[in-house]
């Protein structure tokens, strides 16, 4: 130690001495790699902050915090859209079950009781399954977690998927059977209609060898009161055939003549309400074989796992009255759309967390010899939840953007553009990668959004943008919005060059943060 202290005389040395000292090899490859990765990460952050500060020039404007949050979480809902394609099941069986359920539920249904969210839109439910606000079965020693909204959204998305899976299995959809091994149940010769014959096929699906296996799966994803309801409607039916029965030690499934399947997507970000630590509600829009429905689920925490305790399907968003049900242009809607717009823009210009410590695994060289280097997306949540990530991202972009804005502006987020610009996201060996570095300048909007040019099926949102970096000049950014199906989508974004003028303080307005 004495010697080391004495070498202190070399500290704070002149340039020449430092240069001599720099000739001593001291850094290992690992250290170099680590520092380089750290540098790039800091650079990435600086680039983002630089864009934020440009957005902020001269004003405390809305939405800037949006850049600081994990980008993924904002489109978790759409990116996690799942598709459940059912296998085979009997139409007769489905008809029978629907009829039976309707009768049963008419007698026992309890309306959804929300305590905090007045914005529930489900009315005149076409199918109502009992939902109550009674606490679900939970272990007394459970620690109530403090969950963020994003975590609840993720739980809700998973829960909706679980519920649809159970619904399918309860209806025999997607359950493999051996059609050659079947028998007719003579007790129900006129079920559901006169002349119909009920018969069962042996279940060959490896997931289920007995009724207890089906019940175990239901118990895994559902809890009371909906669990009991499902159990009784599937197994303990009176006056109608059970969906599953056991015979001679084998499991049989109620079967029909026609095979059907169905596709269900949750196509909107679930709206969470009533979270009290052990229960919460989630409202969302579900695409069921092309028809949009409002769905609502109640979730309960059981043994540390969120399970569905209630479920309700509301009105279809399609149909003759959808015109009047679509939200009319308003300030909140405009801010919601601008939030999507800002997120889209951040993905477009290169603002996603990436893991710079991972070796470069993919480089694209274009016709001019320019290299595009992709790094692995470092967001664990995204990597864990979006196995088919680029497709999920595309689905989300498609859900909020249409027309020219999709083709010319935001398509590059998920696909190579016509002009040859590579996609920002790529999937490599099943993992999601992102193009390193800022590619283009983001839109630098600020101020209170103004709604203009309202037409039947379209309107414009107008906000201010700085004309150039460090410029005191401002021009209007027009975000065109069109009605598309059941909602509004961004169709075009453009500057109004004729609106160029000097920045004034009153442009900032009184806008609350979108976050």
């Amino acid at each position: 130690m004495k010697e080391k202290r004495e070498f202190n005389m070399l500290e704070n040395a002149d340039d020449r001495t430092v240069e001599l000292l720099s000739g001593v090899p001291v850094l290992t490859d690992e250290e170099k790699k680590r520092m380089l990765a750290m540098s790039k990460k800091k650079l990435d952050k600086m680039n983002r902050e630089n864009n934020i500060s440009m957005n902020n020039a001269g004003a405390e404007v809305s939405g800037v915090e949006r850049y600081n949050r994990p980008k993924w979480y904002a489109f978790v809902s759409a990116a996690a859209c799942f598709v459940l394609v059912g296998g085979i099941a009997g139409t007769v069986m489905l008809l029978g079950r629907n009829g039976k359920d309707s009768t049963k539920k008419d007698n026992t249904a309890v309306e959804v009781q929300t305590t905090t969210d007045a914005a529930v839109t489900t009315t005149d439910a076409i199918l109502t399954i009992p939902v109550t606000t009674a606490p679900a079965t939970t272990e007394p020693d459970n620690i109530v977690p403090e969950l963020t909204e994003e975590e609840l959204v993720a739980a809700a998305l998973g829960g909706f998927g679980d519920y649809f899976l159970i619904e399918d299995i309860a209806n025999g959809i997607g359950v493999e059977v051996d059609a050659a091994d079947k028998f007719t149940d003579t007790r129900y010769t006129d079920y559901p209609d006169e002349g119909d014959t009920v018969y069962y096929c042996r279940v060959s699906d490896t997931r289920f060898s007995c009724i207890d296996d089906v019940k175990a799966l239901m118990t895994e994803y559902l809890t009371d009161p909906i669990l009991t309801d499902h159990m009784s409607s599937v197994f303990d039916t009176a006056g109608s055939p059970s969906v599953y029965i056991e015979r001679d030690g084998k499991l049989y499934l109620l079967y029909g003549d026609t095979t059907v399947g169905r596709t269900i997507n949750i196509s909107s970000r679930p709206v969470i309400s009533g979270y009290d630590g052990t229960t919460f509600y989630a409202d969302a829009t579900a695409d069921m074989d092309g028809s949009m429905y409002n769905v609502k689920a109640q979730f309960a925490l059981v043994d540390g796992k969120w399970k569905v305790s209630g479920f309700e399907v509301g009105d279809s968003d399609n149909g003759t009255d959808s015109e009047t049900e679509t939200e009319l242009p308003n300030a909140d809607l405009a801010m919601d759309i601008l939030e999507d717009f800002t997120l889209l823009d951040s993905l477009r210009v290169g603002m996603v967390d990436i893991n710079l410590e991972k070796e470069i695994t993919n480089t694209i060289v274009d016709g001019n010899g320019y290299e595009y280097v992709y790094y692995k997306v470092s967001d664990d949540y995204a990597n864990e939840n979006f196995k088919n990530a680029v497709e999920d991202i595309k689905r989300w972009v498609d859900s909020v953007v249409t027309g020219e804005a999709n083709e010319n502006l935001f398509k590059s987020i998920y696909a190579k553009t016509e002009s040859g610009k590579p996609a920002m996201f790529k999937e490599i060996d099943g993992e999601l990668y992102y193009l390193f570095g800022l590619r283009e300048a983001p839109f630098r909007w600020f101020g209170e959004p103004q709604i203009k040019n309202v037409q039947n099926g379209s309107f414009d949102i107008v906000v201010y943008c700085h004309a150039a970096e460090e410029s005191n000049m401002v021009k209007d950014l027009i975000v065109h919005v069109e009605k598309d199906g059941y909602g509004w989508k961004i169709s075009k974004c453009e500057y109004d060059e004729s609106s160029l003028r000097a920045f004034t303080e009153d442009m900032i307005g009184n806008v609350n943060s979108i976050d």
Binding site: K2, E3, K4, E6, F7, N8, M9, L10, E11, N12, A13, D14, D15, T17, V18, E19, L20, L21, S22, G23, V24, P25, V26, L27, T28, E31, K32, R34, M35, L36, M38, S39, K40, K42, L43, M46, N47, N50, I360, T363, G369, Y370, E371, V373, F436, G437
Partner: protein, 188 residues
């Protein structure tokens, strides 16, 4: 590496340009940061400082230095400024200024003060020349071990030697260095 070379690389691939720039100057930047921070910072702090320097350079070089010449001067300046900032930051955190330690105050990297200290400069030159006289690999081993504070194992890896050989050489070289320095009037 010149600014022109860097920009040429950058035009083709920013990532490759960053890699090349880092490889060219990481030892230099590390030497600067280490020299300023050795007495107050951990190795991790110094690595952090080096990464800050390169992030600053990657971020700012295009705008601030566009003459196409050697980048060493620019990078050296960025590194010194950053290292001094880190020094201030760490010492403030450790409340080092609460005492009356003039020695610590003197460690704050002000070039003018350092260069004014001609005695120290002369001593350093003698020390370095005597280390240099040890020849390779002993001169490198001495600096790695007693200035850069590397373990024998780390030095062995860097120089492709056995750790025991490094220890033996370091010990002998230090004895030799002490003798030659003593002859020059310097005691280690």
């Amino acid at each position: 590496m010149t600014g022109t070379e860097y920009r040429k690389l950058y035009k083709k691939s920013p990532d490759n340009a960053y890699n090349a720039l880092f490889e060219s100057y990481c030892d230099y930047v590390y030497a600067i940061a280490y020299n300023k921070l050795r007495s107050v910072a951990s190795r991790e702090d110094i690595e952090e400082c080096v990464s800050d320097v390169f992030a600053d350079v990657f971020f700012g070089y295009k705008k601030e230095n566009d003459n196409g010449g050697d980048m060493k001067g620019y990078i050296g300046t960025v590194a010194k400024r950053r290292a001094i900032n880190v020094f201030h930051s760490i010492t403030a955190r450790q409340n080092r200024f609460s005492g009356n330690s003039e020695e610590e105050m003197n460690l704050i990297g002000d070039e003018t003060d350092i260069e004014a200290d001609s005695d120290m400069t002369e001593t350093r030159e003698i020390l370095l020349s005597k280390i240099n006289e040890l020849g390779e690999p002993d001169s490198t081993i001495i600096l790695q071990k007693y200035y850069y504070d590397r373990s024998s194992g780390e030095i062995a890896k860097l120089l492709s030697m056995k750790a025991s050989a490094v220890r033996m050489r370091a010990s002998r070289a230090l004895d030799k260095l002490k003798t030659t320095l003593a002859a020059a009037g310097i005691t280690l």
